[in-house]
């Protein structure tokens, strides 16, 4: 019986593919790599790697402890590399200025009751429930892919992260 090796990527080991252009503009494909983006990011920056109107997928490098954040809608975090500890707090009232889309960083520690924790590793998907406060931490640099909505904390760097030339 044949044996198979399943290959995943990581911050320490990734190999990018490419767009081979026949008759097109490579920018039409917004081609990037999650690990490449994270390797050049500051901790806890949300850098868009995919966007469809108001929705976005953002890469976030997790290193040490994030600020507390909240959003009015569900978000989902897929751990692409490393181990991440998520903490959740039940906030009774959303802070003033919480946007309709995306997360906002809380100015102070949330004061509500703790909801629990999740320890997630590469390939695990975690719910960031609407209306909760949450933060995450990693002892060793980890990478998240966030399913969220465009908001004040999302950064767009398409020319820097995407293939723009014909190889």
């Amino acid at each position: 019986m044949a044996s198979y090796e399943t290959r995943f990527g990581s911050l320490s080991s990734y190999d990018q593919g490419q767009v081979v252009i026949i008759d097109d503009d490579p920018r039409n494909y917004a081609f990037s790599n999650v690990f490449d983006v994270a390797s050049h990011a500051r901790a806890f920056e949300q850098i868009a790697v995919a966007k469809n109107l108001e929705y976005v997928l953002a890469v976030e490098r997790v290193e040490h402890v994030s600020p507390w954040r909240t959003a009015v809608h569900d978000q989902f975090a897929l751990v692409m590399d490393g181990e991440v500890v998520f903490e959740f707090v039940d906030v009774e009232q959303q802070p003033e200025g919480t946007p309709e889309g995306g997360s906002i960083t809380l100015a102070d520690e949330p004061t509500g009751p703790p909801m629990g924790t999740v320890v997630a590793r590469q390939g695990h998907m975690v719910l960031l429930p609407a209306g909760s406060a949450y933060r995450y931490s990693a002892d060793v640099a980890a990478v998240l892919l966030l399913q969220t909505v465009v908001g004040p904390e999302v950064r767009f760097r398409w020319p820097q992260i995407c293939q723009t030339t014909v190889n």
Binding site: Y14, V20, V34, P114, A120, G123, V149
Partner: protein
Amino acid sequence: MSTETIGPESAPATPANQHGYRDFRLGAFAFSRDEYFAHIVWPTGQHVMSIDSFLRALQRDIAWNFFYGIVNFDGVFGTTNHYGMVDVFAGRYNDAYRKAELDHLETVDTPVVHDVFVDIIKDWTNNGFDPFASPAETGSAFGVKNGDNDAAVTRERVTAQRMVGLPDDEQPRSDESGYPINRQFLDVPQDEPEVRAEPGYEGQIAAFSLKAYLSRSDVTWNPSVVSVCRDSLMCPTTEEYILPIIHGNDRAEWFIQLSDEITWEVEDRDTGRKRATVVMKPGDVAAMPADIRHQGYSPKRSMLLVWENNSSEIPELIATGKVSSRPVDFGE
């Protein structure tokens, strides 16, 4: 080009032919099969496809409810979804057929074309052949009529309402629930995240192993919804061999390669002119713009995260120029 809009009726199927299969009609389209091929005839032409390829494409068109945009069974025949109505076409997106004016298109109420397609796949699929399975994991589609495989061809697409693993939602897969680890994913770790909810918050915080979930998928090239943020749908899928359709986009679609490698051949949506080849490795992200069609090749079973915006307004926004077919603005 000839076009026709047909109403809620379709012609009844005929008795079985010499190979044991029934013939079907949908407006002016006639469908028949023999031991090896599907034959499609319309007023200005005819077309033949290998029956295994035809059934694999037909299966996905049905299960996806005609999907987003165009489902090309090959370079000639397919469907275009108008979300309530469906165009069934031959040669519509083929430059040679268009120039020769041999293409044909019929606009049909969605339930009518759905019912005819279901009748075809149930009658033409033999016992032991699963159109959703990889070719290495299923029996033959060929030969004279030999039973059926209704359990396989009536599978419904898995769609979580919020996230897999939450109470009253889709659940992770296991041996016990009938989903063993696929032969090409035996090395994928099966550990689950550690969820420690405080009393009273059980079921409000949640997590699951997406890679373990995917390693136990029994189908290929069949995106299932695992998480929902308003109209933003995470639709991961496991891929092996060739995508059985050529998907013509009516909106930008995004791919995130989770494991292994897929090569995408990209063509102009309307003419089939070659535009690019996209080679994706683990961690790679690529958009498929709204004016192309694409077909993927996965030499080893791989994990692909397909990300869709499910908004019904997008095709109109793109058609009227309010939204660009290009996925992102590099000046943003």
